[in-house]
């Protein structure tokens, strides 16, 4: 499948990123917004992996630094998800809602 160029992957990830962003902007449910954020992170991962495949080192192997970074990103994302969901749950307990319009008490 090497006829696929780097840009194809980058395009895919970019679109994925945009999709995630669009989701963040469009959806009203905080949990889904959160999912969309995960989507954005994964988009980043995709292009990272693509780049790592693209930057083949002197030894002819992919650049593993990037893959390690992907690994870190996944971990961090997981942690973030855990904390985030915990906060959202707490919020739900307090306000019985997970909708953005319902949390606008702090303003101006």
């Amino acid at each position: 499948m090497n006829q696929l160029t780097l840009n194809n992957y980058l395009l895919a990830s970019g679109l994925l990123f945009t999709l995630g962003f669009a989701g963040v902007l469009l959806r009203r449910n905080i949990i889904i917004i959160f999912m969309c954020l995960e989507l954005m992170l994964n988009a980043a991962n995709l292009s990272l992996v693509a780049f790592s495949r693209f930057h083949v080192g002197a030894d002819g192997l992919p650049n593993y630094n990037a893959q390690v970074l992907v690994f870190f990103i996944i971990t961090v994302a997981a942690a973030e998800v855990a904390v985030g969901l915990a906060i959202i749950v707490a919020l739900y307990r307090a306000r019985q809602t997970t909708h953005v319009e319902d949390i606008q008490s702090l303003k101006f």
């Binding site: 963040v24 606008q104 101006f108």
Partner: protein
């Protein structure tokens, strides 16, 4: 000796002024004696000045010293011209001091009065002795201050306070021109001393317009001080001050300072025909109008005040026609008889318990004979009775006017006619007939301290005109300058003629009248000039003031300053509206920001 003498003359009054105003104001008698002493010191000093060398002696003290580029000196200089003024100022000053001891006897603020009087003496002598324009300006201002103090002596009287302010402000306007003139002179010649300027006069004359402007600017100062049209309005109101003050300041000395100044800088005016013409006509018109006003006044002091105006006008006109010496001569003689008249009127007012309306007087001839005699002499001298001082001096001016410009000459004649007329009117209404009020009936002559000056002045008003005396005072060349103009018999005859006509008509009209048969409201209301000025000031200055006040309050401060701060706050409020608290909204702004910045970056 020679060099300390001027300082002695100048500083003695200052010393007494300081002592009186700062320390001695507790005890009246002490302050009185202090300032008396001071004035006599100056008097003696000036008399001694006659003794010493005929040629000018001068001495200076540097007041501001910035090295070569700029020096302001307090320089004293005694020459023939100065001596005349010295005599007038100190002499009359001394008499007025004596007179005042009684006149102001029961005034609560007697020592303040005498203090200010000394201050006045100091500043007046300063003008007289000044050897440069800057110094003359300094004392010019000081004279204004002291006259402000003296006019406003009874400051609790609203009218007095007003008059004082009026006098000061009107003078200030004149001084504005004076200062401008000084600056112009200095910037072109680079000198301030009279003699230095005279030496480098060439720099001025090479630019005639500048010269004219300069001359007229300087003349403004004289217009203010000597109350010429259009700045004459303060003098009549100045009569609010105590009568001795009127006699000294507003008849004999200060108002004459303008003329003196013009005489001093005559060399500077001479080259500019235009300037001279303007001066001459302003003087003439002042003389005429003032005389006309005088004919309809009922307040004894005001009559005299207007006559002073018109006489000053005559002197200025004299300068204008080039007869500065003649003007000085007239100044000299006029000082005596006008002081005499004022002091006389003061005596009357004193005797009649501050009654000033001549129609409330009458018949005083019998009750206060001494006053009457002296007053009569004064009147005659003023109206130009042949053989008295006024006759000679006025004659000299008319003579040169006759040669220079017939217009001025005619005006002069008319003026002297009117002079004779209103003075006679005054005399008749005040002294002849029978007393119209109780007070008038019980008038009485005043104590010696008041009558003595009258008598002395009367004597002087008789003799002052005669060459023997005058020549001694003026010194040869000046006195001959007085009579420089070729003599014609016509002028004296005309003068006598108008005198006779004026006196006769007055006699005819006013003999035995108890109220004024003629009513010319235009004259009695002084051509409505004060009203016009009031309107003018209200129309221009106060209007502008309130306008700019409004602008400053509502435009500069209100609109601009508050507007800007309001704009800032408004913007802040708008900014805060962006913080509407919606999470997604923030995300949206975030994204919008990203998109814009990215666009800016990659476009």
């Amino acid at each position: 000796m020679d060099h300390t003498l001027p300082w002695l003359i100048l500083l003695a009054p200052l010393l007494s002024a300081i002592l009186v105003l700062l320390f001695a104001h507790r005890s009246k008698s002490l302050s009185v004696s202090l300032s008396l002493a001071a004035v006599f010191v100056s008097l003696i000093g000036s008399l001694m000045a006659f003794g010493i060398s005929p040629e000018a002696l001068s001495t200076t003290f540097t007041w501001i010293d910035l090295g070569p580029i700029f020096k302001l000196n307090i320089g004293l200089k005694i020459d023939a011209l100065t001596k005349v003024m010295l005599l007038v100022v100190t002499g009359i000053g001394a008499l007025v001091h004596i007179y005042s001891t009684v006149y102001m006897a029961e005034d609560s603020a007697k020592s303040r009065f005498f203090g200010s009087l000394s201050l006045f003496m100091f500043s007046m002598l300063g003008i007289v002795l000044a050897d440069n324009l800057a110094m003359m300006f300094i004392f010019w201002e000081l004279v204004g201050v002291s006259s402000f103090l003296l006019i406003g002596h009874w400051y609790t009287k609203e009218s007095a306070a007003k008059a004082a302010n009026k006098a000061f402000l009107t003078n200030r306007i004149g001084d504005f021109g004076f200062m401008a003139g000084i600056l112009l002179v200095w910037s072109t010649t680079g000198a301030l001393g009279f003699s230095e300027i005279q030496n480098s006069i060439g720099k001025l004359t090479e630019n005639p317009t500048l010269l004219t402007i300069t001359g007229l600017c300087l003349f403004c100062g004289a217009v203010g001080k000597s109350a010429q049209l259009p700045l004459h309005v303060w003098l009549p109101d100045a009569m609010e001050g105590p009568t001795p003050v009127s006699a000294l300041i507003h008849a004999a000395t200060m108002v004459a300072a303008g003329v003196y100044m013009l005489a001093r800088i005559f060399f500077l005016l001479e080259p500019s025909a235009i300037a001279l013409t303007v001066i001459a006509w302003i003087g003439a018109i002042t003389a005429l109008m003032a005389a006309l006003m005088a004919t309809q006044q009922n307040d004894i002091k005001r009559v005299l005040a207007y006559s002073t105006l018109s006489q000053l006008g005559l002197m200025v006109a004299g300068i204008g026609v080039g007869a500065w010496a003649a003007s000085m001569f007239h100044l000299f003689t006029h000082a005596f008889f006008k002081a005499l008249l004022f002091l006389g009127s003061g005596a009357i007012i004193h005797a009649l318990h501050h009654e000033q309306d001549i129609w409330k007087m009458g018949g005083l001839k019998s009750t206060m004979p001494k006053t009457f005699i002296t007053f009569l002499i004064g009147t005659l001298a003023l109206s130009g009775f042949p053989g008295l001082a006024g006759f000679f001096s006025k004659d000299a001016i008319l003579l040169s006017a006759y040669h220079k410009s017939s217009g001025i000459f005619v005006v002069g004649l008319v003026t002297s006619l009117l002079t004779a007329f209103y003075m006679t009117r005054l005399l008749i209404v005040t002294f002849l007939g029978k007393g119209r009020t109780e007070a008038a009936k019980h008038g009485h002559d005043c104590p010696a301290q008041m009558t003595l000056p009258l008598i002395l002045l009367a004597v002087l008003s008789v003799i002052a005109g005669y060459p023997i005396f005058a020549e001694f005072v003026f010194g040869h060349e000046n006195f001959h300058a007085v009579h420089a103009a070729p003599h014609t018999i016509l002028v004296p005859i005309l003068a006598i003629g108008v005198f006779i006509i004026g006196t006769a008509s007055a006699l005819a009209i006013y003999k035995g009248k108890n109220n004024d048969p003629i009513r010319i409201s235009l004259f009695s209301n002084r051509f409505y000039i004060d009203e016009f000025y009031a309107a003018l000031i209200a129309g221009t200055q106060d209007m502008l003031a309130s306008l700019s006040g409004w602008i400053d309050r509502y435009l500069v401060d209100g609109v601009i300053v508050r507007g800007l701060s309001g704009a800032a706050q408004g913007t802040g409020y708008l900014f805060r509206l962006l913080q509407f608290g919606n999470l997604q909204g923030y995300a949206f702004l975030f994204g919008a920001g990203v998109v814009t910045v990215l666009y800016l970056l990659i476009k």
